[in-house]
């Protein structure tokens, strides 16, 4: 086709204009690619942080935390609890409410060891899980029991000893034994999981980084334990070794990596066995719920609150909102500034391409007029001008895609790290020490570093090329319109 040869000649023999137009569009769409890739990278980074946080399939987590009557943010003391709740909690921890009588442990100077459980949450019957499972919009629900197993050992002191009063004396997380000095006190958080529903459990098979998950059959899972990576490191426990919880030995079958912001108990065992150890059959204190779809989560949340008195319901979205740090800032930046930047660059590129095309048509007035004089129909002349712009658009798109890929590769190579931080406490108030977010384990608060990538996918590149073509077409339309208005008599104008 002659027109294509002409088009090629125009682009080839006016390299400056072709390059300028294509480059203008390329920079514009290249920025779009970079911003798009960064945005995708940030989303990926956020997803990487959130994925373990939200659990693999858990949409809603239900627990019955103790509500603090006077939430002044000072945190901590049981004295702030309502009398009724104090009574309830005392019932939960009846073992601990005993007077700690050294006389019962042995003669002064003898060694003693004492194991007990401490719950900071109210328990409820496992049948609640079945009721929630039956609610509209609930696909499945799994029961969990999370407790602190405390272990005290030492030498029975001479004479009197400081009384070990309420459970308040035992700060979760373990530590020394106050003024006692001669005692060792250990507190291990342990979660009993429904091994038949591993995907919904507070620890999921995906989180196991070494060894394996608990056996799927509850009977076979008895005696097995999955330990948290941090706990395993701290206590130098390896897969295949044993760990002790409340005097009971468990074989460590796997090590799980603590998810940021998720539930991180030190040890995970089979639910029934933990209930037996606690000596409260059929009691649980958290339920993980999977909704049928994201749309029904809000409705389901309301239903659960109505169903279970005093229930605290935390959705995955609540948790996601709590991710902060430079990751969130960057995501914010990319979604606001980045998008604005990309749009401005793109508009500027379109404008540059259009102006260059208009100026080119202006400069080629005589040439285009000559073509018309030679009997080229309007349509042919317009097609020629538009075609040139279109090809420049395609060139610009390809160049822009290459620029974008290059810039994204540079970002990938540099691999900037962003920090994602998650507050350990549920939203609301100055920090309710007993209302942990998901289940009752120690929510893995703190921060994690995420390496930012800039993944460029085919869709993004297609978008870039498409945008450049749109830019080329816009420029071509403007140029074509001007060319269409040229009168063939323009060819002779300069002679006058």
């Amino acid at each position: 086709m002659f027109y294509i040869r002409y088009l090629g000649a125009e682009l080839r023999r006016r390299p400056g204009r072709t390059a300028l137009t294509a480059l203008g569009l390329a920079v514009g769409v290249g920025l779009v690619v970079v911003v798009g890739a960064l945005s995708k990278g940030l989303d990926d980074a956020q997803a990487a942080v959130l994925e373990p946080l939200t659990g693999v399939g858990t949409d809603i987590s239900v627990s019955r935390p103790l509500s603090v009557a006077d939430d002044d943010g000072s945190g901590g003391a049981f004295g702030q609890l309502l009398p009724r709740e104090q009574r309830q909690l005392q019932r939960e921890n009846r073992e601990h409410n005993r007077e700690f009588n050294f006389a019962e442990l042995g003669e002064p100077g003898e060694r003693f060891a004492e194991d007990s459980f401490l719950s900071t949450q109210l328990s409820f019957p496992a049948s609640e899980a079945a009721k929630i499972r039956a609610l509209d919009g609930a696909e499945d629900a799994a029961a969990t029991l999370t407790l602190n197993a405390t272990h005290v050992e030492g030498v029975v002191p001479e004479g009197g000893a400081p009384p070990l009063g309420g459970p308040g004396a035992h700060a979760p997380g373990g530590g020394g034994f106050g003024a006692g000095g001669g005692f060792e006190f250990e507190s291990v958080s342990v979660s009993g999981v429904d091994v038949r529903k591993p995907a919904l459990a507070v620890v999921t098979p995906d989180q196991v980084t070494q060894g394996r998950y608990l056996s799927e059959a509850p009977k076979r899972a008895r005696g097995e334990a999955v330990v948290d990576l941090a706990f395993a490191r701290q206590n130098e426990i390896e897969v295949g070794e044993e760990t002790e919880v409340a005097g009971e030995k468990f074989e460590v079958v796997g090590v799980a990596s603590a998810p940021l912001g998720g539930d991180a108990s030190d040890v995970y065992v089979e639910l029934g066995q933990l209930q037996d150890l606690w000596d409260r059959e059929g009691r649980i204190n958290a339920i993980q719920v999977r909704a049928e779809s994201a749309d029904v989560v809000a409705g389901l949340e309301d239903e659960i609150v109505a169903q279970l008195e005093g229930a605290d319901v935390v959705t995955a979205a609540d948790l996601a909102d709590r991710v902060g740090g430079s990751l969130a800032d960057a995501d914010d930046l990319s979604s606001k500034l980045g998008t604005v930047l990309a749009i401005v660059a793109l508009l500027a590129a379109f404008l540059i391409a259009t102006l260059l095309t208009l100026s080119s048509v202006q400069k080629r007035t005589r040439e285009l007029g000559t073509l018309k004089a030679l009997g080229w129909r309007q349509r042919l002349v317009v097609r020629q001008v538009t075609g040139e712009s279109l090809v420049q658009g395609v060139l610009g798109g390809l160049l822009g895609a290459a620029l974008g890929v290059g810039a994204a590769a540079i970002i990938d190579a540099i691999g900037p790290t962003l920090q994602a931080s998650v507050e350990g406490q549920a939203a609301g108030g100055g920090g309710d020490p007993f209302a942990s977010a998901f289940g009752q384990g120690n929510v893995a608060a703190g921060s994690t570093d995420v390496v930012l990538g800039a993944p460029v996918d085919v869709g993004l590149l297609a978008l870039a090329v498409g945008l450049a073509i749109v830019g080329g077409l816009l420029a071509g339309a403007a140029g074509g319109l001007r060319a269409a208005r040229l009168r063939p008599a323009e060819a002779l104008r300069s002679a006058e």
Partner: protein, 255 residues
């Protein structure tokens, strides 16, 4: 203008041969631009008949309306008043597309600035005139080569306009104008941008092709020497025809 008698006789024979179908008939043809007080009359009620095969040279100072006349005769523009018939067809009644088609089928143009497309080679420039025609690529190429050959530029076919001299460029333009075998060639000061040697060569070529191809050649010029080669000389001033050698010749014959 007077020329030698043998030359005159030759011209005479040619015009009589094509007297039957006049190519152009202008009746009070006018072209004005603008409206109201800014209205400019470029051509004022021109009556003119141009016979088929005539070589007409149009003289006149700047602003006399000769380029406007050329635009009208070249079907590049329509009269704003009166009538211009081309081969019996009133141009003022034709739409843009029909005028475009008419230019494609019947006209060739030669411009003062040559108006070659700078990014195309000599051969491609000739092909540009053939592109809208429904002919094969091979045929188009052959025609282009043939017409470049006719103006003596076959060896320069692959040169870009910038690689050609002014005279060569104008010869490419002539090849382009003639490539579609037009019935009329409209030339706007074809020697205006050329030195005398090249100008003469181009005129030589135009005159020869006019003789060989029996085309109607209408040529606007400043160069008086060209008039000697023309069958007929029109002189314009202020948009009016002030002198027509056809009438003069008739007078001379009468005297």
């Amino acid at each position: 203008m007077t020329g030698d008698p043998s030359n005159d006789r030759e011209k005479e024979t040619m015009s009589t041969a094509s007297e039957i179908t006049p190519t152009y008939e202008l009746r009070e043809a006018s072209r004005s631009y603008g409206d109201g007080p800014t209205r400019v009359v470029a051509l004022d009620a021109l009556d003119l008949t141009i016979k088929r095969g005539e070589f007409v040279a149009v003289f006149g100072p700047s602003g006399s309306g000769k380029t406007t006349l050329l635009q009208l005769l070249g079907a590049l523009d329509r009269p704003s008043g009166g009538s211009i018939q081309f081969e019996g067809q009133p141009l003022e009644e034709l739409g843009d597309l029909a005028l475009s088609e008419l230019r494609l089928r019947a006209m060739g143009f030669v411009f003062q600035q040559f108006n070659l497309i700078p990014t195309l080679t000599a051969a491609e420039n000739v092909e540009a005139a053939l592109a809208p025609l429904a002919i094969s690529r091979l045929e188009r190429r052959e025609k282009a080569a043939e017409h470049l050959e006719a103006v003596g530029l076959a060896p320069r076919a692959e040169h870009l306009p910038t690689q050609l001299s002014g005279g060569e460029q104008q010869r490419v333009a002539i090849a382009r104008a003639l490539s579609r075998s037009p019935r009329v060639v409209v030339a706007d000061e074809p020697t205006g941008n050329l030195d005398s040697g090249n100008g003469e060569m181009v005129m030589e070529l135009l005159a020869r092709l006019h003789g060989e191809l029996e085309i109607t050649l209408i040529l606007v010029t400043h160069d008086e020497w060209i008039a000697e080669r023309a069958d007929r000389v029109l002189r314009l001033a202020d948009g009016r025809l002030v002198n027509d050698s056809a009438g003069q010749a008739a007078e001379e014959v009468a005297r």
